[in-house]
């Protein structure tokens, strides 16, 4: 008789993963224990003897890591493979190697598509709603609180079921036919426009240098006090509006992406720069 994982067990396995994938994260097995727990009900159902169960559990508490929301596809694929193994159509070695091989791609897709693209875009839209008016600023937060978990849970479960149903071949097909690349680059375009707008709206930095003098006006024969003769910031903004925030943002990007500065180091550098600018502002009478 061929063995099959029941609907109920699959759901339980997904629940174990979805809620508790990050519980016991550490450097030795990363998400290994969580993966083991997620596989436990499946193993319990598929294998009869203690020895078989022990063998199966041991291969799933070993090192595993992924971006866990999108990575549920791996859980689905592994469930399918364990089922095949219980029916003698797969070997434990294949299961382990496939699992290991999937760590890289699923982490990369999850981090770049979901965490670094979908979340910021959704946050940006909700931020814009919150920012529109102080009295309705709660709305954006509430929208995010509802949309993000529901959407993610839905996608994560769909991926899990897809992995179980279509297996590794299914995932390879998706990755090979360019659909994923199409989706990713579309998201990237959307994200870039939005991030550009956010940079223009929220990053603020000015060059606080100005020359203030009392000016003698010959036509009316009066002394106009405190006239701003030169304002570095206005001059720069006349050339290209908000050029300094743009420059600072691209500078941070360069240091982070190309020079591998850590965020902490960048934060200290920004603080130092802020201190210099503030000092300059006081020295030239920009702040008082």
């Amino acid at each position: 008789m061929t063995k099959k994982i029941s609907e109920q067990t699959l759901k339980k396995s997904f629940r174990n993963w979805f809620f508790w994938n990050g519980c016991s994260q550490q450097a030795e097995s990363m998400l290994g224990m969580a993966f083991g727990q997620a596989m436990a009900p499946v193993i319990d159902e598929l294998y009869d003897t203690k020895e078989e169960k022990a063998e199966a559990l041991k291969r799933h508490v070993s090192l595993f890591n992924t971006e866990s929301q999108v990575g549920s596809v791996v859980n689905g694929i592994v469930c399918g493979m364990e089922e095949a193994n219980a029916n003698g159509e797969c070997t434990p070695e294949i299961i382990s190697s496939v699992k290991t091989a999937l760590i890289g791609p699923t982490s990369a897709i999850g981090d770049s598509l979901w965490v670094a693209t979908i979340i910021p875009i959704l946050l940006t839209i909700c931020l814009s709603i919150s920012q529109a008016s102080a009295s309705t600023s709660w709305l954006g937060a509430v929208l995010y609180m509802v949309i993000y978990p529901v959407l993610t849970c839905f996608i994560s479960y769909k991926l899990f079921r897809f992995g179980y149903k279509s297996g590794l071949e299914g995932m390879q097909t998706i990755m090979a036919n360019g659909q994923l690349e199409k989706l990713t680059s579309t998201m990237t375009v959307m994200g870039l426009i939005v991030v550009g707008a956010l940079t223009a709206s929220f990053v603020s930095v000015s060059l606080p240098i100005q020359i203030v003098r009392d000016v003698y006006d010959a036509t009316t024969d009066t002394v106009l006090s405190g006239q701003v003769l030169f304002n570095a910031d206005n001059m720069l903004n006349a050339i290209f509006p908000r050029i300094l925030p743009l420059g600072l943002t691209l500078g941070v990007y360069h240091l982070y992406a190309k020079k591998q500065w850590s965020p902490m180091k960048l934060m200290v550098a920004v603080l130092a720069l802020a201190a210099v600018l503030t000092g300059l502002g006081y020295a030239t009478g920009f702040y008082c």
Partner: protein
């Protein structure tokens, strides 16, 4: 902050951190985001609009916070709950930009404590592997939740909740020491304001590192930028333009590929 408020905020700091009992989707990626966290703090402290005014710039600044492979750059949950609560408790009488600057500083302090506690929990979780392996060797499928959920949660809760209580209590004691706003010299509040505005570049710069994959991508970023500076659109309007552009790009993608 009252004892009850401190308790609630500390509880949410734990819930919003990585690996809490509600899962990372609801916890870290939702309750832990500054936009949501500031809303929760606003509810607890009874001033949602003021809390949101702090949360929005914090969200921008931490927008680039992605956690690849468990490398936590800042503990967002710690950073924003503490940053917002501190700015609300200590910032009475300060202007908006200075309050934001204050929030940025306390978020930095909170984030550091959080990162430290993350590393502690990361280390404390290691021995749980022994337990997991023991149960695995014995084939105890029904006990696999013990190392992961029970063990992981006890360590996670202790590492988040207790330090949060300590930090929040000291904040409350400090705010009781008198009018905090009048104690800060003027140049510090100016510096805080400048720093707060510049920190937004950090979030944007880091998120760009994930999005700029090809050289010409910088032009798309600039398009979004000038829609605000030259065309005077607000971010919501640009978001709509972005969605439209994305749809057109998606439709044209295959054609361009075939021709090229």
């Amino acid at each position: 902050m009252s004892t009850f408020q401190i308790f609630l905020i500390a509880l949410f700091i734990y819930l919003g951190s990585i690996g809490s009992i509600v899962g990372n989707t609801i916890g870290w990626y939702t309750l832990g985001r500054p936009l949501v966290a500031s809303f929760v703090v606003g509810l607890i402290m009874g001033d949602v609009p003021a809390a949101m005014a702090i949360g929005i710039p914090l969200q921008i600044m931490y927008m680039g916070n992605v956690t690849p492979g468990g490398a936590v750059a800042w503990d967002l949950s710690y950073a924003t709950y503490i940053g917002t609560a501190a700015a609300l408790a200590l910032g009475k009488g300060l202007g908006t930009t200075e309050i934001i600057g204050l929030a940025v500083v306390f978020a930095g302090i909170g984030g550091l404590v959080g990162q430290l506690m993350w590393n502690v929990s990361y280390a404390l979780n290691l021995p749980l592997n022994r337990l997991a392996n023991k149960y695995a060797e014995a084939g105890e499928t029904r006990k696999m939740y013990i190392p992961n959920v029970v063990g992981g949660q006890i360590i996670g809760f202790l590492c988040r909740f207790i330090p949060a209580i300590i930090v929040l209590t000291s904040l409350t004691l400090a705010s009781g020491q008198g009018d905090f706003a009048s104690l800060i010299p003027g140049w510090i509040t100016t510096l805080l304001g400048v720093f707060g505005g510049m920190m937004a570049a950090l979030g944007m710069g880091i998120i760009l590192s994930f999005l700029l994959k090809k050289r010409y991508h910088i032009v798309i970023f600039l398009a979004g930028f000038i829609l605000v500076t030259y065309f005077g659109l607000n971010t919501m309007a640009v978001a709509v333009v972005a969605v439209i552009t994305a749809v057109l790009y998606f439709m044209a993608y295959d054609k361009v590929k075939v021709e090229a």
